[in-house]
């Protein structure tokens, strides 16, 4: 029987997330365990990525496995018009696990239906990116000592940002309080707020960043994404809306950390980087341990 795929953050239970975070912690202490010796993992990236692809490949390599794949659709037969189904069925014959990033939404769910090996969704358009959420949870738990009862401030593109939507959904299991800071055009969509209302989770919506950092445990910054805008002029209007500068971190809590899924454009000023509360690069490193945990959990190599 094929192992379960990870396509959406809702595919796993709260207990399974915690299990994966615990495994990631083990891998951080001891990264070079050759559990994937003899395994081949395919990384199929139909659109650009630095962090996600390389952190998956690093994870597989550290575990002693091998990687095959492609880094853009143009270098595969997709450019000849091959269907996704044929691509997946072919690659499933060459590998034990497929990690896929594809701009077409729903592609990962479909792939998991036709593939005889498990699929890990590394991002399907603006829909899901569950491994990012897991590494975000890992980073939050590591820096705060817990996931429970935290004050989470989310900033930037809350309308199109799949990382904030997904993180929000995952955190609802842990009794958070949210503050959403964004320009009016990029507010958190109604369906997520309605869901928070249903679950009795408190949130505020504000437009002024500096004032709300003081009480935050986590400040989660996001890039206003040019590629998600159909109108470039609209993008130019909002891209500089919320920029974090080092001075703004004065008076913030000692345990507060600044997170960002990266890449950043200018929303976190480089003067923040030397501040010990700037956590975004370590957050990216946590991606390796988290992805090692996800891979081993899915392949049944760690329970």
């Amino acid at each position: 029987m094929k192992s379960k795929s990870l396509v959406s953050i809702t595919d796993f239970t709260k207990e399974e997330y915690i299990k994966i975070l615990d495994l990631a912690e083990e891998f951080e202490k001891n990264p070079n365990q050759k559990l994937l010796d003899g395994f081949v993992v395919a990384t199929l990236f139909f659109e650009p990525s630095t962090r996600t692809r390389l952190s998956f490949e690093s994870a597989v390599n550290r575990l002693g496995g091998r990687v095959i794949g492609f880094t853009e659709a143009a270098t595969s037969s997709v450019s000849k018009g091959e269907t996704l189904k044929d691509t997946i069925m072919t690659v499933a014959n060459y590998s034990d696990l497929i990690v896929m990033r594809n701009p077409i939404e729903g592609s990962a769910r479909f792939a998991s239906e036709v593939s005889k090996v498990p699929i890990i969704n590394a991002g399907d358009g603006a829909n899901q990116h569950p491994t990012q959420t897991l590494l975000d949870l890992y980073s939050i738990r590591k820096t705060q000592g817990t996931l429970n009862n935290l004050n989470i401030v989310m900033v930037g593109d809350l309308k199109y940002g799949r990382t904030v939507h997904s993180l929000l959904m995952a955190l609802t299991h842990f009794n958070p309080t949210f503050t959403f800071i964004s320009p009016a055009e990029l507010k958190m969509p109604m369906e997520y707020k309605l869901n928070l209302d249903k679950l009795g989770i408190k949130y505020n919506e504000r437009t002024d960043l500096a004032e709300y950092i003081k009480n935050a445990d986590i400040v989660y910054m996001t890039r206003v994404q040019k590629e998600r805008f159909s109108d470039p002029i609209e993008y130019e209007k909002v891209k500089n809306a919320y920029i974090l500068k080092n001075k703004m971190l004065e008076g913030s809590k000692d345990n507060m950390r600044v997170l960002h899924p990266l890449p950043r454009v200018n929303e976190i000023n480089e003067d923040v980087d030397p501040n010990p509360k700037a956590y975004y690069f370590t957050q990216a490193l946590n991606g390796v341990y988290t992805r090692m945990a996800i891979i081993c959990y899915i392949l049944g190599l760690k329970k």
């Binding site: 077409i104 939404e105 769910r109 479909f110």
Partner: protein, 152 residues
């Protein structure tokens, strides 16, 4: 003033009658059930007065009985439809339609970036809201609501 309520569509000996279809949904019902390719005798009437709907349509398909899974698909456009199963000119059973758990094919996903609109993948939806007849795409997870229904 009209006193007598007369059925404008003739009775059938055996088969299925679908009544209380909103008049504007008639042709969608016919398409969903594939009646345009059906070789049975079919009669229908539309814009008939209805206390329930204002204007209703009715379809009678002779010598044909439908599986629940098939007939329930029309609930997407005719949630008020009532079925009468006819044998020997008698109504032997009355049924109501209900929204199926999953809807495959029939309706296009509203998201242009969904895999069902970009590759050879059949549409698949779960029911998001029975009351509002809104569907959630099984693949891209976006919601297509009744206002935006486009039939494939």
């Amino acid at each position: 003033m009209k006193q007598q309520k007369q059925l404008s569509v003739s009775a059938i000996e055996n088969g299925t009658v679908i009544d209380h279809i909103p008049a504007q949904s008639l042709f969608n019902v016919i398409n969903i059930l594939g009646l345009d390719h059906c070789s049975n005798q079919i009669t229908f009437g539309t814009n008939l007065d209805s206390k329930l709907l204002g204007k209703k349509a009715i379809v009678k398909i002779a010598d044909k009985y439908f599986e629940n899974a098939d007939i329930n698909k029309i609930s997407l456009v005719a949630p008020t439809a009532k079925l009468n199963i006819i044998k020997n000119y008698e109504v032997v059973e009355k049924k109501e339609v209900e929204l199926p758990q999953m809807v495959e094919g029939i309706i296009r996903c509203v998201n242009p970036k969904c895999i069902t609109n970009n590759d050879r993948v059949k549409q698949k939806f779960t029911i998001e809201s029975k009351a509002e007849v809104s569907l959630r795409c099984f693949y891209c997870e976006k919601i297509t609501d009744q206002e935006h229904f486009e039939f494939v």
